[in-house]
Structure formats: C-alpha cells, structure tokens
Symmetry: C2
Subunit: 140 residues, 2 copies
DNA sequence: GTCTAATTGAAATTAAATCTCAATTTCAGT
DNA sequence: ACTGAAATTGAGATTTAATTTCAATTAGAC
C-alpha cells in the first residue's frame, strides 16, 4: 500500500523514512480528498502526531514527486492538493460562486492531449485542466 | 480598440478612467505576451508612466474582469498573466526544465470541454489547461 | 465650478511558503 | 546492538506575493 510506495520512493532517492514523514502521509490519508497545506498541518497538530510546518511542506513536495499526491489548483491564495492513491486521474470544474469542486474524467480528453503533445514534440508529464463557471445549484 | 473597451467596461461599473489605470493598460500592451505583476510594475516605473504597486495589482484585476487580460498560470510562485486583446484563446504547455511556455489551440479540445460541461449541467465560463513536461530542446 | 464618490499611494499587513542552522535521528556498515 | 556519516528536524526568521488601510487627491456628473 501507500506506505510501501512512499518508502520505496524514498529509498530510491537515498532519503529516510522518518516519523514526521510518516505522520504527514498518515494524515493525508484521513483528510478530505482536497486539502491545503495549512489545513493538513492543523490536523496533524490536533491528532496526536507531530510534524512541524516546515516538515509538512517538505513532505508534501515529496509526496507529489512520488505520485501519491497531486497539486490540484492554485485558483485562490494557496495551493490545493489531493490525495490520489487508489483514485484515477481526473480534472476539475470549480464553481466561481459556491466553490464546489466537481471531478470529471474523459478518455477522449486524455487522448487528445497526448496527440497535442506528440505533435509539439513535447513530453507531457502531467496536466491540470480547471474549468471555472457556475455549478448546477448556482445556475438559478 | 482596447482603450475604448476598457473605458466602456469601467463606465458600466461606475468606475473612473484614471491616469493610473490608463498607464497600466498602456504598459500591458507593450510588455511581452506573458508577464507577471512585478515585471509590469517595474516597467511602468522605468517608462515615464506612474502607478503604484497597489494600482498595478488593482488594475490587473479589472483588466481580467474586462476580458483584456487573462490569468495564465500559477505554477511557480506568483501569477502569470497574458494580454489577450486581439489574440484568440489558447492553452499552454510549460517546460518544467527551462520554463518555456508553448501555446496551443485545438478546436476538438474546446468542443470536448463544452460537451463535458453540458453533461454535468455546469455553465463553463473559462478554463485553464496547463500541460507540464519537457520541451523539445530539453528532451536530451 | 462644485461636490461627492471613487481612487490613489506609501507603508503596514497578511498569507503562503521557504530558508537557516544547531540539535537530533536514521540507517548502513560493522 | 554500536557507531558515524549524512539526512532530517523544528522554531523562528525570512522571502515573496498580494492586499489592506486611510488620509489626501481626483474624476466626472450636475
């Protein structure tokens, strides 16, 4: 599972699996799917776990590198991350009014992007598609 | 042209066309297509024009609202904007290595997004697609 | 020209994220 | 289990981006 994955990732890079890194991964698993670093830090403090703000940010970067977490958006002030372990890739619609985040996935969309990368001789590693507008509820 | 457009926009909102706002729009027109607010501010200082940092940020928001400027990305630290007057919508590939920004446009991609919005009962107003990876030059 | 509401700018403030560096911890090699 | 080198940590300082404050100024309707 994800602990093993993270441990392998760290091993490959000659990094150590510390108590703090474990705590961050632990909390990432229990936090809502979309979260921001400060939220995560606050929750770690509340739960018995321990990791400084610096470690939270540092570990978050490693988790992104390892593929367990993705940076979702930078619409507002800070970054929003999401826990991606066991969830397939998807993109987001964000309601400008109520802030709701709707996830969607389209095979066609993914393929189209691959084609576009190919024809530009670009090696696409990741992407973010964010559609902003008004959600179902706010359309009235 | 764009001055008129901005003026109309301001008029409609009961806002005033000030020297400072004019200066910002002026400089947006001469700056490279992709720019960040601090760059813009620096260039305004250099040229004879005058507008405080606060006014630059404030005006930039208005320009986005008016449609003359778009927020492109928030990949790194600050926001990147682009001047969109007279240019059609497009998306971006950003090289993780050298930072190069490649623009692209795909009718199919746009249509696909429309379909996706429709089937989610979402009224899409704008979107940002950012593909990150390695550009042609950096692939070796 | 007058008047009022909008706007400005300098500096303080907020907020997110990163950096510093002495003290601590991990873990590979024994 | 012990040791030592190298990685990691945390508290607080720092950086950077952006926003806010508010008294003084200015635009523009009348």
């Amino acid at each position: 599972m994800q602990n093993k994955i993270f441990q392998n990732f760290l091993g490959q890079k000659g990094l150590k699996m510390t108590r703090e890194r474990f705590a961050v991964l632990e909390e990432v698993s229990s936090v809502p799917v979309h979260f921001d670093p400060e939220q995560l830090y606050a929750r770690i403090r509340e739960s018995g776990l321990k990791a400084s703000r610096a470690s939270v940010y540092r570990t978050l970067s490693l988790l992104v590198e390892s593929g367990l977490v993705e940076k979702v958006s930078r619409s507002g002030r800070g970054n929003i991350y999401e826990h991606t372990y066991g969830r397939r890739h998807h993109d987001h619609m964000i309601c400008d009014i109520c802030g709701e985040i709707i996830e969607f996935y389209s095979e066609d969309l993914e393929n189209l992007q691959l084609d576009i990368c190919t024809s530009n001789n670009f090696k696409g590693m990741s992407h973010t598609l964010e559609i902003r507008g008004h959600c179902e509820n706010c359309r009235r």
